[in-house]
């Protein structure tokens, strides 16, 4: 009797756990079957394509079958909105489905990297922040577009196109500029009447505003990428370079120290804000000036905030250097994509003038001269010509696979100086040492 009951209990338990695991795997195994099926189809399609080499007419056979899915890994937010706003036409024309997965920036990077380790990747098109380019190309994530027949398009702004070349500015094209981010000097029109064109004038203007009872210059001093992006333009404007040609860190040079001292003086006229606060403060007229990215202000173009090119010199009569940090978001075809041809076509479509015009309304930042100077768009987005000008006077961060680590240690030391824990000399000396360590 007892035994029988035990048995029943066990059977019940087994059945329950089986059912549940079946339910759990049910969704899974179905998907797997689909995947395998899709994989088989791809091979079949490839074979058909190979045949089609001799017999052109056979090609549409692949088209008439299942629709192909092109998967894009993008940074979540306005970039996804922008792609979504133009994808329908391409889907209709090529009988395919475009799937856009948006991730937060750091997660996007990891996902793309992990996906590149697969024989056939999940992503066909991927977005990359411009400092990731050296690492991504070194890891062979991108397909070489030049080898795939890409011809340089002179309408794309040269500085943006250069980021996608490996080595920088001269080699083959691996990615195309999708979003034309470049840093600006943002200022409040009511507080600053004459836009300063050199850094001493910025300081003078900030001190004046402070004397009138408002905040002068607001820094974005959060440790890490923010403070580095916020300080480097000043350093560059003094003619400084982060590394020399042998990858020795130069930030502890006299120029570096002068730039950091100026940065701290600027902070003393204002405050240290996080980005949302900073944007609100400048738009409201609580603060006069700061540096920032274009997409911050796009929505509030009626506000009293305005945009100018970041000054590239220290004094009115000193030499001018490119100082505006460029931070384009690039897009390339993955080397392990299963649909490279279609992906290249989609890449060309997404970076075309027509698409960029439509995407501008969804928060896209164009990278083409013709779009940035398009009369209709300029009326809607008066900062586009400034953006073009700023891009042409822009500078890239050092092209090195370990830049993100170097940025991280530099950010920590800049943060120490801004917090008053270290003097600028101490902080930059420590930064240079640490940067030399991580770059090797």
């Amino acid at each position: 009797m007892v035994l029988k009951k035990v048995k029943r209990g066990i059977v019940g338990l087994l059945a329950a756990s089986l059912m549940i695991s079946a339910a759990a795997c049910g969704g899974g195994s179905k998907d797997t079957e689909e995947t395998t099926a899709a994989a088989e189809e791809t091979t079949a399609a490839e074979e058909t394509e190979a045949d089609a080499g001799q017999e052109e007419t056979a090609a549409p056979a692949a088209d008439s079958g299942e629709t192909v899915t092109i998967s894009i890994a993008a940074r979540g937010g306005s970039h996804v909105d922008a792609i979504e706003s133009v994808k329908a036409d391409f889907e209709a024309a090529h009988n395919c489905k475009i799937e856009v997965s948006g991730y937060e920036a750091a997660d996007l990077k990891k996902n793309i990297m992990l996906d590149s380790t697969k024989p056939t990747g999940n992503f066909d098109l991927v977005m990359a922040d411009d400092p990731w380019m050296p690492e991504f190309t070194e890891a062979q994530i991108f397909l070489n577009l030049t080898e795939a027949g890409y011809e340089a398009d002179s309408d794309l702004v040269q500085q943006c196109l250069d980021i996608g070349k490996v080595p920088y500015g001269e080699g083959d094209q691996y990615a195309l500029p999708f979003s034309g981010n470049v840093m600006f000097l943002f200022y409040n029109k009511d507080l600053v009447s004459d836009v300063p064109t050199d850094w001493n004038a910025v300081l003078a203007a900030a001190e004046q505003v402070q004397a009138d009872g408002n905040l002068g210059y607001v820094i974005r001093g959060q440790q890490g990428n923010p403070i580095v992006s916020d300080w480097l333009p000043i350093y560059w404007a003094m003619g400084g370079e982060v590394f020399d040609e042998n990858w020795e860190a130069q930030v502890n040079s006299e120029k570096g120290i002068a730039a950091l001292e100026l940065y701290i003086k600027l902070l003393e006229t204002g405050a240290n804000y996080e980005k949302n606060d900073l944007v609100a403060a400048v738009s409201d007229g609580k603060a006069a000036m700061s540096l920032g990215w274009p997409s911050w202000y796009v929505s509030g173009s009626e506000a009293s905030a305005a945009y100018a090119v970041i000054p590239g010199k220290v004094d009115a009569d000193s030499e001018t250097y490119p100082a505006g940090m460029i931070g384009n978001w690039m897009m390339g075809v993955t080397g392990n994509s299963g649909n490279q041809e279609l992906a290249i076509e989609l890449l060309n479509y997404l970076t075309s003038a027509e698409s960029q015009k439509i995407m501008a309304d969804a928060g896209g930042v164009p990278t083409r001269e013709s779009v940035l100077t398009d009369a209709e768009l300029v009326e809607k987005y008066p900062h586009f010509p400034t953006l073009l000008e700023a891009t042409k006077a822009s500078k890239v961060r050092p092209r090195h696979t370990n830049w993100s680590k170097a940025e991280e240690v530099l950010g920590a030391e800049l943060s120490a100086a801004v917090s008053g824990v270290k003097t600028p000399e101490e902080a930059l000396a420590a930064a240079a040492e640490a940067m030399n360590d991580v770059i090797k």
Partner: protein, 301 residues
């Protein structure tokens, strides 16, 4: 059938195996390979680049030595230990007081009990972002409230003197209810007869708390503290949203360090080695607790 003295109920072999193995097999399958992988890769210089292009090399203990010699890593250990101790102690005291307060109030209100759990129920990333706006230097509501009392604005998250405690504040706010919940459950399961007997003997409520309730709570609290210890030790998302480890590394926890130096760039060798160091460290810190629950669970029989 042989009957063991400590084993009061007879156990059928089949039943035992069917019950115990599914969970152990799942755990073994999902953790054994990864643990081996982590141990092995910690001895290599594997990165994304060497994974995709070949050329991963054995480097012996280099990753471990580099980490131990890196003052940033050592500093992150200090930050983590300080944070963990402060957070766990405060959360335990606060959560326990809350549980005693609510449980002692005659008829414990069901509504209040649920309400106090709310912070724990919030999605961590979202609520941390909300805290970020509240801490905002310029327009944050906390500074606005301080302003009403005539106190100058505090740069909560970017001042080196306050950032650490601001993150701590958020953690305590969110996880003191965790301690509250578990202690409260334990209080509910506490046999009432002891209390009644003591009350009959004329013990006042403080004496009963001191001599009956607290000793009873010792065991469940060991578990609660250990759980909080383990989770707080790997603190990451709050720091990542609120301060990114700044100002000047004052809030950079070990996980944040691993994330920035290894994980983010898929520097697998470094990630593995530092993760192992971190695991050893937490086992070391949690050792007294582990030993006491180990004793309770294992060696008593």
């Amino acid at each position: 059938m042989e009957k063991k003295r400590t084993q009061l109920v007879d156990h059928n072999r089949v039943f035992t195996n069917v019950m115990v193995w599914p969970a152990l097999i799942i755990l073994l399958l999902t953790s054994l390979l990864p643990i081996i992988y982590v141990l092995v890769t910690s001895l290599t210089d594997m990165t994304l680049i060497t994974m995709n292009r070949g050329g991963t090399q054995w480097v012996g203990l280099k990753n471990y030595i580099d980490a131990i010699q890196d003052k940033d890593f050592l500093h992150s250990i200090w930050v983590t230990v300080k944070f963990t101790l402060l957070a766990v102690v405060t959360e335990t005291i606060f959560g326990t007081l809350l549980a005693l307060f609510l449980h002692g109030s005659g008829r414990p209100s069901k509504l209040l009990r649920t309400l106090f759990l709310f912070p724990m129920l919030c999605p961590p990333i979202t609520i941390t972002l909300i805290w970020q706006t509240m801490f905002s230097n310029s327009y944050g509501i906390l500074n606005q409230i301080l302003g009403v009392f005539g106190i100058a604005p505090v740069n909560w998250l970017q001042d080196i003197n306050t950032a650490f405690y601001s993150v701590l504040w958020v953690d305590i706010w969110q996880y003191a209810p965790f301690v509250f919940l578990l202690v409260y459950v334990a209080l509910c399961q506490m046999p009432q007869d002891l209390h009644e007997a003591a009350a009959l003997d004329g013990a006042n409520s403080f004496q009963r708390l001191r001599h009956i309730t607290l000793p009873y709570l010792a065991k469940p609290m060991t578990v609660v503290i250990l759980l909080r210890l383990i989770d707080t030790f790997r603190l990451f998302d709050k720091v990542n949203v609120l301060t990114k480890g700044g100002p000047y590394n004052s809030t950079r926890t070990i996980t944040m360090y691993i994330y920035q130096r290894g994980y983010n760039d898929l520097d697998i060798g470094v990630t593995s080695a530092t993760s192992i160091l971190m695991t050893l460290l937490i086992l070391l810190i949690a050792f007294p607790y582990i030993r006491s629950s180990f004793k309770q669970m294992v060696q008593r029989r």
